[in-house]
């Protein structure tokens, strides 16, 4: 048998023939375009997304939307205190959601409270994400003792309830927006670290990482440019859930009186203020801030659930 008898050895001309059949896709064929198309298939998720945008818009533009600045003493009158929803003030203004014990318009107070609650949630979510992401990536990439050390710290962290960690930290640090953000980051970074590590461990074994090593790319480049983008999908999902839980956690802490000072009233503080009036029938002071908090958290969670469905099975495969 000569070599020419073996199949598949004809030296064909290497013209780019039928193989090029996969068409060059139009502009919408980016991963983001496909992602968007899949997301809008669920009406509930679209509704939740619109609600979330409205809530965020209301929070961002609160100073322009709110009928009164509830913390400007010149605009608030104690004589208007504890009015029920729909009551009209002495200067003819209607309090659609009633007023609280200090005579503040509850609708305005909720808008300002949302501002604080959302910024605490987003800030702590972002910082925790970055910290957890870096720790998780380093643990997965380097493995060995580094991984053992980092992941045991994560386990330790996860074995304690988040509220407990935050309570202890706030008891030490005191009140303040910056302090509650620190407390929430410390309480939540471990979730991100664990998520990133598990997906980075899978990605790290894939051949494209080996190929990148064979191209002589540096470690940092491989970790952050090649592995990280492939781990983003689960990270985004955990990010939404953890942001919602950070908002709830902040409300809990403020309700317990260890979160934010009264000068920076979040939804939790509003609920806490109104709680004292619940038994006397003035339900609205705690009820409406509670509804606002509930809607915010539900909207974020619904968006997060949809993201999880869309991103899994993975995009761009």
């Amino acid at each position: 048998m000569s070599s020419a008898d073996l199949p598949g050895t004809e030296r064909l001309p290497a013209e780019p023939v039928a193989e090029a059949a996969v068409p060059i896709a139009p502009q919408a064929e980016t991963p983001f375009g496909r992602f968007f198309e899949t997301y809008v298939e669920s009406p509930l998720a679209v509704g939740a997304f619109i609600l979330l945008v409205l809530i965020i818009g209301a929070a961002v533009f609160a100073p322009w939307i709110a009928p009164q600045n509830p913390y400007d003493l010149a605009q608030v009158s104690v004589l208007d205190s504890r009015l029920p929803p729909g009551a009209v003030s002495m200067d003819g203004y209607t309090f659609w959601l009633g007023t609280d014990g200090a005579g503040r318009d509850l609708f305005s107070a909720i808008l300002y409270g949302l501002r604080i609650s959302l910024s605490v949630g987003v800030l702590s979510g972002l910082f925790a994400l970055v910290l957890g992401m870096v720790v998780g990536l380093i643990a997965a990439y380097f493995g060995g003792r580094t991984e053992t050390l980092l992941m045991r710290i994560v386990d330790l962290q996860l074995s304690l309830p988040a509220v407990l960690i935050a309570l202890i930290l706030l008891a030490i640090l005191g009140k303040g927006l910056d302090k509650i953000v620190i407390a929430l980051v410390v309480a939540q970074w471990a979730y991100y670290a664990r998520t990133v590590r598990s997906s980075a461990l899978v990605e790290r074994r894939k051949e494209y990482v080996e190929a990148a090593v064979c191209l002589g790319l540096g470690r940092g480049r491989i970790i952050f440019r090649h592995i990280l983008p492939n781990c983003l999908a689960p990270l985004i999902v955990v990010g939404t859930v953890q942001t919602a839980s950070a908002i709830a956690l902040e409300a809990t802490l403020s309700f317990l009186g260890v979160g934010l000072p009264p000068t920076e009233p979040s939804l939790g503080l509003l609920i806490s203020n109104g709680f004292n009036y619940m038994l006397s029938g003035r339900y609205w002071i705690a009820f409406f801030p509670g509804i606002a908090l509930l809607l915010t958290i539900v909207a974020i969670n619904l968006v997060g659930d949809r993201l999880r469905d869309v991103l899994n099975p993975r995009l761009a495969r």
Binding site: S3, G8, L12, P13
Partner: protein
């Protein structure tokens, strides 16, 4: 001609709990500019580990215990990791088996190609992009400008392997190691890629080490053939001569187990037995338990001896025979 790659006495061993696995146990070969060397053998014969050893990418518990790898005058064995990293992708590159897996799914092709250049050469992004475009055109990808902006999932398997080859060629390396790069492709695409590689080797002077278990591939592609068995080279020589008249019984058996049109209806002749575990190799010649020619002489490991000009065989009973004659 001078050799761009010289491997002498390469030994890569894996130190496992069960014992030392001698995956590569004394391999010598050299490679000239533009030469295509076929490296064949069954699974577990050490061909892939040889490839990874050349790149300095043997993972623990394995390591290169002995030998020398000289790439264009630089000794790679014992080179510090950072210096080795600068060789990879620049002087020596690799193409993998599964083109679906070797491109990062979330990065555009241009991003991946440009970073492969700028990691090693200090040039502007625009110049790197131009080089990337030229490389895509060179491997026969139509409309490279548009293709640069595509994501890997927008390419077919054969196209992706062309992209992978283009990436390997970007920095004009001296040697490209190809680990069964056409195994996952269908035969027509495989033939195109092989023809392309032959043209590229001639045009750029890049030498290839083509690792495969498919004799049909090396028959049409390679200039020279190395047959590996249990971590050692058992036969080497010009590809046509080795395939036409294999001297080692193992090479003989490998060729005999390829189905062929001229022997339709006949039973394929398998090599009896299995590749022995590398932990418990027989004393002497590792192939003797499966070899029809084995006798008492084979209890001593034979050396790699020349049998004809340019041909060497590791066997006490080297009969250059034609596989077909032996079959009848």
């Amino acid at each position: 001609m001078t050799a761009v790659l010289e491997v002498r006495g390469l030994k890569t061993h894996f130190f496992t709990r069960a014992g030392v696995i001698k995956a590569v146990d004394g391999v010598d070969f050299s490679l000239e500019r533009g030469e295509i060397l076929g490296l064949v053998g069954e699974s577990g014969s050490g061909k892939t580990v040889t490839g990874f050893s050349l790149l300095g990418l043997v993972d623990p518990p394995g390591r290169i215990v002995e030998g020398s790898i000289r790439l264009a005058g630089t000794e790679l064995v014992g080179l510090a990791e950072e210096a080795m990293r600068r060789q990879r992708g620049r002087k020596i590159a690799m193409i993998f088996q599964d083109p679906m897996m070797t491109l990062n799914p979330v990065l555009r092709v241009d991003t991946q190609m440009i970073e492969a250049i700028t990691t090693h050469v200090d040039i502007s992004k625009a110049a790197a992009r131009e080089k990337a475009r030229a490389a895509l055109a060179m491997v026969g990808i139509p409309s490279p400008d548009e293709r640069l902006k595509s994501y890997p999932h927008q390419f077919s398997g054969g196209m992706r392997q062309r992209v992978a080859i283009a990436i390997a060629l970007l920095n004009e390396p001296d040697v490209i190691i190809a680990d069964e790069p056409t195994t996952a492709l269908d035969v027509t695409i495989q033939a195109q890629i092989l023809a392309e590689v032959q043209k590229l080797a001639a045009a750029t002077g890049t030498a290839f080490v083509w690792i495969t278990h498919d004799l049909a591939v090396v028959a049409g592609l390679a200039d020279r053939l190395l047959v590996m068995y249990a971590g050692r080279i058992v036969e080497s020589g010009p590809v046509d001569e080795v395939l036409a008249s294999p001297a080692h019984p193992y090479t003989h058996g490998l060729i005999g187990s390829v189905p062929s049109q001229t022997r339709r209806g006949q039973k394929l002749r398998q090599i009896p037995g299995m590749t022995p575990s590398l932990l418990s190799l027989p004393q002497g010649c590792a192939f003797k338990t499966r070899c029809p020619r084995a006798d008492a002489a084979c209890d001593v490991m034979p050396g790699l001896e020349p049998v004809a000009p340019g041909r060497e065989v590791r066997c006490w009973h080297p009969h250059p025979t034609t596989p077909l004659a032996a079959a009848s």
